[in-house]
Amino acid sequence: MLYIGIAVWSRAKSTSDFYVAGGKINPIANAMATAADWMSAASFISMAGMISIMGYGGGVFLMGWTGGYVLLAMLLAPYLRKFGKFTVPQFIRDRFYSKSASTVAVICLLVASLTYIIGQMTGVGVAFSRFLEVSSSSGIYIGMAVVFAYAVLGGMKGITYTQVAQYCVLIMAYIIPAVFISLQLTGNPIPQLGLGSKLVGSDTLLLTRLDQIITDLGFKQYTTSVAGTKLNMVLFTLSLMIGTAGLPHVIVRFFTVPTVKAARQSAGWALIFIALLYTTAPAVAAMAKYNLHTTIAPGIEKNMSVFEPESSLEAEKRPDWMKRWENTGLLKWEDKNNDGRIQYYNDKTTDKEVLDNAKEAGWQGNELSVNADIIVLANPEIAILPNWVIALVAAGGLAAALSTAAGLLMVISSAISHDLVKGIIKPNMSDKQELWLGRIAMALSIVFAGWLGLNPPGFAAGTVALAFGIAASTLFPALMMGIFSIKMNKEGAIAGMLSGLLVTLFYVFAHKGIFFIQGTQYVDLIGGPNSFFDISPEAFGAVGAAVNFIVALAVSRFSKRPPVDVQELVQSVRIPRGSKKIKGSH
């Protein structure tokens, strides 16, 4: 019950003070609040699990979701702050002197944010399914109800300091178990150092031992494994970086800092607080993997060969946490060779030696499957940590998912009610109507995202990665060219955003189904999976961004220059002096 208490306590605050943050607020507190907003279910619940499975290649998430802050601090934040408006479509509308450009921006924003919310729903579903011991689909329904209550009925008027509290819960929930586990395994309490240390009572490095264990079982070496080609990894990292800098719910945090200088700096402070979690995650990932293997094959710790019969775990003696996660359907095992023990290995390996060893030992296929999203939540249970730590982690995961979902819903509702309907379709709408429209937009988004979360195209982090691709290929290039190219005009910006969006969606939908609906994939039409230079759909955002830049620059060359007052606007945005104080209300 404790975790519900903590979740409720940390839930009451939200992304809210978009419009009033800054000014009197301590920049460090503001940065913590930004970090709480930013770190989502994908960061908290899913990322370490993905790294655990991917090994070295999981670095794309670590670098991608932090490197974007460098772009944000240098290319967008200070200039958008000087511009002094509240939403991304507002900037697009004024800079490109066009309602159509702002409509296109609203569409791009909606596609990116909705995709992002699907990832949050998956994450919330996983957390609820375990702690209420229900199936993961029921978890998503409960998650939808909670997000609805949280974002639509209230909670939008928090203050920064309660978000600071939320950050504290989240980061403690992440770091405390990591410290315990690092101590248990390596004797070093700092996970970042523990990951590079020797195992307790042995002369072998943790990473070396882990590599040994998993390669014996036919998995790829942890410290070098990459899923695709090098080009794909570079583009995947770039997509996440550019996408981070182009996601509206991140950008808006920098609109309201007190000065241009503060906009540059606050990205740095926010990144420090984010880095606390992000540099801990790889340690959590590797240590959880080590613990999982030593749990399933207790012989490993006795230096037995994994292929000796007594090395594998007897199914009868499997720990309670496995049974609990079996209820959720996210962990499954099946005794294929009827020996009463669980064998966990890569039966699809091409390594003949491993296959021969397995055959000789009478193994008839891998008997365990573990969903990546449960790694962080199950981690303290695997390491047999006290119950309060387990509860704390659940609360942290829920807080992370709820705060980000609320932030996204806020951006969606303001884009629809303020930028689209009030700004373009029906300018004389009353404030009350605007508010109601915003709420309806939120409710519809939750239902839509929840429905798609029930048929998830991948793990929370994987789904979220697609949102970044969409933001990277649409909003970031438009914003950047709006600042860095005086000659960029509305024709160029609109053509760029549309072509970036269409190219990216075309490629992503080919693999994942039209609007992620199962069964509507058309991957054969484009010549099979990853057919474009072996690039995976998650990594395609960087290509989409390049298309956007090229199309926009080409079109703007052959069409009229922007009006003189817009050119002057761009000049003034580039100079810090004269930044206006942002009023506290909207």
């Binding site: 670098m63 460098v70 580039r574």
Partner: protein
């Protein structure tokens, strides 16, 4: 071209030069050291870490933080030099 325009122009050039340097370092560390040249760097060890692996999962993030603060510091200097800083 007026005096103010030419001053604004050289301020913008100074800004772009700084941007270029910081972005180059950003790309060299994250895309270069962590991905493209990872095998070569993995032959070197930093504590118990293969260096390339360390850059991909730890080092890049530290470098990003340093880069943002370095950029902020030098931007502040450029702002003052061209007298366009906020009060």
């Amino acid at each position: 071209m007026s005096k103010k325009e030419s001053k604004d122009k050289s301020y913008w050039f100074a800004t772009l030069r700084l941007l270029g340097i910081v972005l180059a370092l950003w790309a060299i560390v994250s895309l270069g050291a962590s991905i493209v040249f990872v095998e070569a760097l993995n032959k070197i060890h930093l504590g118990g870490y293969p260096l390339g692996f360390w850059f991909a999962q730890q080092g890049s993030i530290y470098v990003f933080i340093i880069l943002i603060f370095t950029y902020t510091y030098f931007m502040g200097k450029i702002d003052k030099k061209y007298d366009v800083h906020e009060n």
